[in-house]
Amino acid sequence: MEATIEIRGLRKRYGPTVAVDGLSFTVEPGRVTGFVGPNGSGKSTTMRMVLGLDRPDAGAALVDGRPYRELRTPLCRVGAMLDAGAVHPGRRARDHLLWLAHSNGLPRRRVGEVLELVGLAGAARRAAGGFSLGMRQRLGIAAALLGDPPVLMFDEPVNGLDPEGVTWIRGLLRSLAAEGRAVLVSSHLMGELEDSADHLVVIGRGRLIADTGVRDLLAAASGGRVELRTGRRREAMTALAHAGATVAATGPETVTVTGLPSERIIALLTEAGVAFSGISEHRASLEEAYMELTRDAAEYRAVSREVR
């Protein structure tokens, strides 16, 4: 087992609330795995169990095939950012990273290196209490990278970042995965992961909803639909229905066609002499795909309390 996070039948209950309910998935190296679900669906709880902070009621969360609590210099195995606010406001950024480095016997120079890496070198001597949310996120990411670990976990890293920061973090996540690291990134908004995640683990109510590649998910959600724009709607629908397609009018000049690839549609319409002004394969957004997946889980939002 190398550089992976393995979740096997994980279960956790807080009083009457089941936060995680029989969850299993694996985070592979070399790609960014998005960990998605509505607020309170159990993402943070799962991550805390991976880090040995909370004890699972059943199942196991393993890093490199071992429980986290057995790791000796854990910062060199797993880097994690759970809560960007978890910094003493009176402590300078540099000192926050310095005690972390000391705790695992990491060389002092790593502090400067990671501060440079996240763009906080100029603020190293400032107390963390004066940091904006975006700066704290960067400090949290710096802490996660301190031991240069092969496994990384970020809980909602995009939260509170400005557009520039969002772009930066997407690039960072992709480059970390490209180096061969296993990267797990949680978000309650699928859209945030659209450009960075390769793989998705979707959960709702603590249960696994989907464990799939981003491309597969989009293809499934798109369902082979083709959008057609034409001034001669009626003729077009007749010709295509005749060829066996399912056709639906979606507007005065637009038609949605299912069951035929776009090349065949073009050929049919040309043959029938029906002019059209546009044809496009419908590409579902990740957000749509996600909404579809979590339709059941979404009901949960109205009644759920935020689980820590």
Binding site: G52, G85, R91
Partner: protein, 488 residues
Amino acid sequence: MTTVTPYRSTVSGARDGFGALLLAEWTKLRSVPRWGLALLAAIVLTIGPALLSAANSSGGGGGGGGKPPPGPADIQDLGYFVNRPLADNGTVIARIAAQDKARSGLMARASLERGSPYAAVLLVGDRVRFQSGYGDTDVAGAQGHRWVKLARSGTSLTGFSSADGRTWQKIGSVKVPGQTIAGPVVAVPENVKVERQFGGESISSTPTQGTASFDHVAMTPQPPTPWRNTDRTTDPAGSGGPGAPGGAGPPEGPGGVPTPPNTAVWNGGTLTVTGTGDIGPYGFADDRTRMVLTGVLLGLAAVVAVAALFVTAEYRRGMIRTTLTAAPRRVRVLLAKATVLAAVTFAVGLVASFGAFLLADLMISSRPGPQLPPVTDGPVLRALVGTAALLAVAAVFALAFATIVRRSAAAITVVLMSLLLPYIVATGLPLSVARWLERLTPAAGFAIQDTVRRYDTAISPWAGFAVLCAYAAVTLAVAAHLLRRRDA
């Protein structure tokens, strides 16, 4: 998915170990400026009251304006002493014909100087006792004996008793260097009244007169000088006494009736001595060292606050998760925190206690009046170093309790209350209840500051300190257990 080469950390030299955790926790402690200021405040708060009390203690402690008795404050020395020089290999013998509430017998001592070493064989009630020094140490001898003897051999003084004056039974011996004077002595404890109420206590003492008569008084070899009467009533507070020069006159009994003067009268071979004053430990002396260290009660508050915040600040902001992620072996984290905190607060305590004592000493020594004992005295050193240790153990206690409750306010309140409760309520409680509070609560640790055994000493210095240590150890064990078991 194509095969990926898993990433390997490029950071080398990583190690885990207790030393790494100590360094991490030390970095945490020193990097929050506010905590550093609070510990500095602990020093200032400890020293401040010492200077204030030193500044106010001008003029010495007594209405009589007399010079305070030299030597330690917690002794009384002596009663009515009839003496003449005792030669080497000489002996002094006497039979106690009668005595009232007094303790009477023979005493031999180096000089009449207060606090000088002595040996005495005294009839106490119905039993002869060999007494020496000013502690609680004396040796019980035979019951019913009325004859007493002191023999000098070089610097060694040995006490005997006998039923008939012929067969002597040795009770004890002690070394008293230098010249020796010896003879009959009468000692009577003072009549002390202690009244307690909220806000303080008042102690009043009145000298008591006692009488004893001796016969068969003999010293061999007979010295050339005659018997000399020394009537110096014990007067540790320095105020006027019946025998003190410049004293306020004869002691007054209850109701203002003057008591008759102290006398020593020879009538044939019988000596009758009426005297006041006692010899031995004095349970009502001021513990000046401890008074100088009173400010530590304030310094303690700052130290306890920092100790509690050292862990609750992490819980409050979720930083405890970062800590436990970096060091998953949780008990070691707690022990590292406790070690760093103990070391730092011990150092702070040393600066505070020695600072308070030495600065107060500097102020007091420039004026006449009761002085502080020298800093090199064993009990003083124990009190000063013990105060630092007290702060360190209290800090560990607060840290452990804060780990259990995970709330700053609750932790600070409970720990401070447990340490200060006896001081807050004790003066309103009966002495016996107050004493038990001072023995059983963590406040027992303050006993390490005692340099004087007093009537209200509840527990010996080391035993009291051990009580506080036990509280800290048990709380730390519970904290470690909970930290291991609970979700972070």
